[in-house]
Amino acid sequence: MRILMTERQENIPDEFSEDLELTTTRVTEAIRNALDARLAAWKTDFAQREVHEVVGALLARQTTLAEQMILSPRIWNEHVAPLVLRCMADVYISLAWILLDPVERSQKFIVYGLGQEKLLCEHRQEQLRRDGKDPTQDPGIRAQEAWIDAQQFTFLTEVNVGSWSGIDTRKMAEEAKCLDFYRYVYSPFSPAVHSTWNHICRFNTQECTNPLHLHHRRAVAWELSLSLEYFLLPVKYVQKTFRLFDEHITLSVEAANLLDLTHELLSEIAEKRTDNSETTYAPNRDEGPPPAKGSVPPVA
């Protein structure tokens, strides 16, 4: 395994890999504990069943995304990390917007999801019919319909092909007073999600330096070094989500500061390494993704 720290690459010694694994495990345990503490303290109230289900599920989703990313150091690079982080930003903005009017918006969120599933089901049935098969006998279709019917009969379910909230993500962020998060986190990670030119040019091409060749670019599937920034960011975003939840759903939950814990654990590793290496750990506490590393990414 190789690691990129403060513009330098080097082989990670085995003991560092072991320390890192220990650290990621401890951090994910802390995140899981933070979720469990909140869910346990938040008593179910069937007068607000949808709120519990939607808000709780989004909180759990954020936990899952953070956990999976933290436990997968191989994706701590610009190719994949932004995909997960943009998804986390999406979860945060949706949750922030829902919590402004939890009952109505949670219902809206569910109805939209059911409609999407109905549409997927319809397309699948159409495909089966084209293939000369009977969709009513297809176990997948039956399972899908049963899943929808259990919540709302399929024949009563509307299909909304617009956005679930009726407004775009930017507007949601504006109304939820997290426009900065939209601008400096959600938007910067979007080019990677959509594979637009400002992402793929930097991370999937290399410029030819031959003056006879007009500086054309060739396609390259770079293997990127990992960056510790992508360990810290999911921790930061999941903690931010927990805080948002705490602000709206008033509970007395005592939970560790996840980001401080992560910094402490990483600093311990760095101290252990100081004797053997010049490499220093310099966590960046700024919000948002690390800056792009130019047109020629480091090669592992």
């Binding site: 031959n210 006879l212 007009l214």
Partner: protein, 251 residues
């Protein structure tokens, strides 16, 4: 008949200030003035002017300018009935018929410029079969110049990457000089280009820098205009030939 719905236009403040929002697109101020097209220095202008850069590298500045101007004048004379062809661009010489070329070569020979021109442009003509000024050599077979010469040419081409560098600047100045001489460019006495000869001091004096800036914008508009009026495959052919001459280099 239904009315065509006009896209709503609003002026932007703060981020992207000065841009006009048309539908979902923010149009920058320059594009609001008209249908401007980007004329890329390297891809479109360099292939057109590289011949004058070669002359500058082979001779001194004054002789290079004399040779470029002599060639442009001779071409204009044989194309006497036609106006508006800027012979600063290499592809402009594609407009000469075989008969016209024959007459032009005779004139260049008479005034003693032909051999020097052929000497100055030999590398380019030998490496690039589609080079429009290969017509100077008639049926003559040009021997392949070899790798040493290719590496030297690469170095000279690399010098042209920055259009504000000295050789690139004088190459463009020669293009403007040709436009002046052929009567295609007239300027007001109050603008920097009016004292065009002062570019000789570039980049030592402030005035020469101002003139060089005017030269760059003039050349851009001349090449853009030239390509609009006279379709050419030469710039693309030039860069495609580069791929044949040598492999890619990646650091």
């Amino acid at each position: 008949m239904g009315k065509k719905k006009k896209k709503k236009e609003t002026k932007q403040r703060g981020v992207l200030s000065g841009h006009k929002k048309v539908g979902k697109t923010f149009v920058p101020p320059m594009r609001q003035l008209g249908d401007f097209q980007f004329v890329n220095w390297q891809s479109r202008i360099v292939p057109e002017l590289v011949w004058m850069a070669e002359l500058i590298n082979r001779f001194d500045l004054i002789r290079a300018a004399e040779l470029a101007l002599g060639l442009a004048r001779s071409a204009k004379q044989v194309l006497a009935s036609q106006h508006g062809v800027w012979f600063g661009a290499a592809s402009a010489y594609c407009r000469l018929t075989t008969a016209m070329t024959y007459v032009m070569l005779g004139r260049l020979n008479e005034i003693g410029l032909l051999e020097e021109l052929k000497h100055g442009l030999r590398t380019l003509a030998a490496f690039y079969p589609a080079f429009p000024l290969r017509l100077l050599y008639g049926d003559e077979k040009l021997a392949p110049p070899g790798d040493t010469e290719l590496q030297k040419f690469k170095g000279r081409l690399a010098q042209l990457q920055d259009r504000t560098e000295r050789v690139a600047t004088f190459t463009q100045a020669n293009g403007v000089y040709i436009a002046f001489d052929l009567g295609m460019l007239k300027v007001s006495p109050n603008i920097s280009l009016a004292n065009f000869p002062a570019i000789e001091a570039y980049p030592a004096s402030e005035e020469s820098k101002r003139i060089a800036a005017a030269v760059r914008s003039t050349v851009t508009s001349f090449v853009g205009h030239h390509h609009q009026r006279h379709a050419t495959t030469w710039p693309v052919s030039f860069w495609n030939r580069g791929l044949e001459l040598e492999g890619c280099e990646f650091s």
